[in-house]
Symmetry: C2
Subunit: 278 residues, 2 copies
Amino acid sequence: MCIPGCLERVQKELTRRQVLAGAAAITGLAMTGRDASAAGKRGRAASRSFQRVVELTHPYSDKFPHWRGDASVVQRTVVSSTDVGEDWNVYQWLLDEHAGTHIDAPFHRNADGMTVDQIPAEDLVLPLAIVDIRSRASQDDDAEVTPDDLKAWEKKYGDFPDDCCVAMNSGWDKHVWSEKFINFDDNQVRHFPGFHVEAAQYLLEEWNVKALAVDTPSLDQGRTADYPVHVAWLGSNRWGLENVANLARVPAWGSTIVVGAPRIVGATGGHSRTFALV
Amino acid sequence: MCIPGCLERVQKELTRRQVLAGAAAITGLAMTGRDASAAGKRGRAASRSFQRVVELTHPYSDKFPHWRGDASVVQRTVVSSTDVGEDWNVYQWLLDEHAGTHIDAPFHRNADGMTVDQIPAEDLVLPLAIVDIRSRASQDDDAEVTPDDLKAWEKKYGDFPDDCCVAMNSGWDKHVWSEKFINFDDNQVRHFPGFHVEAAQYLLEEWNVKALAVDTPSLDQGRTADYPVHVAWLGSNRWGLENVANLARVPAWGSTIVVGAPRIVGATGGHSRTFALV
């Protein structure tokens, strides 16, 4: 009773999921991302393994290029030696929430969304799927991840894993210490890659995806005026991650992203030490 | 040519390491922690797997009990809507480095030690060994982890894994929102559990340990005047983690701790989202 192509799909699905789940026994098509309600629960319980750790965080200081174009608010206060003793070093820091490698909590652009401290630990450790648009972004500063890019990823690597984070690798992290990173034109319009809103909507509608990540300063491409990806994605109570480093050192699928988002009560975002477990 | 007890030791070692390393083939005693130079390299390459994520971070706000006894420096600045648009929420934060669940970088008490941003990613994702002194700490606010506690752990669970983090579970995290957490007496002396310096020295000399963690405000017990554990441990260019939550939800061995230490250039410590992968 198999429709055309079904057997091949089951076969592909079984093979890929068996690899993803390691030694865990996988038995059928119920594990596909499209069957989100059942699959999310079972996918999360699957065994995950790794052998090495990749740094996905840029060093953060007042030198970090801010989205606004001016300096990041990173200021250090030295706590006096009368407080702590002369052999000790203790500082306080004034920090921007939305600079450096940082999380966007849903509340950043959704009055009813979660603040950073409300995001559960389980939701900050996710399967990582990386969509590589470096070739196009090297020719076009306004390149975007489109639904076609996502479908091409599926064709090459299989379904997007349940509860995953989908990351754009545009190669933009190599510009981080130059003006190219924010890339203002003469009209003060920014130019850097991001997700197209149709790609965000495709992931919201077709797959069971928890988070988006980009190696540029914004989920939306630089020249946007209305930030439709922020509106759609954070509006769905999902989180984003911006200014990610070193995605080229991580395979397109099979690794885990761990986002050390600060558990600060009420935060809308914040510098987040981020690793890939590969 | 086996000395008495050697065969049993090899057998125990093989069994335990095989479990720790998952499917990876382990072949002999060269993997013990005491043979640190060879074992560290091989231990790090071993496969690590997990099925669930445990939150080890307390929520951080100005309500968090500060080591000094006054308020934690957590202050929020609301970025004005003229900067970001009225539908957006964006803040800046003034934060203490040494409050909440936080890392102590070696530089905190070692002028030649690493700052937080200098700690490699690989060193923030470590096998976790938990030493449980809850029974004693429930009777004695000044309880300490001693070398005997560590030897008892070894007897029960085997060698400390290479490059591991050794954590004290004193059960103190349950006091976090009460005065008992800092626990000043009438003479303004603090009383809470910590590591005894001899335990720190035992781990430095006998095992290949990267980090110490405690569920109290300090690696040293509260009533110390000279902080010998900080001096010895940070002095060896190793890091510590304080105010850890929920260690009772993690098994004594076999899990991985991930410390999202902020990659802030020059920091001596900082609020660190921390997970156990179990």
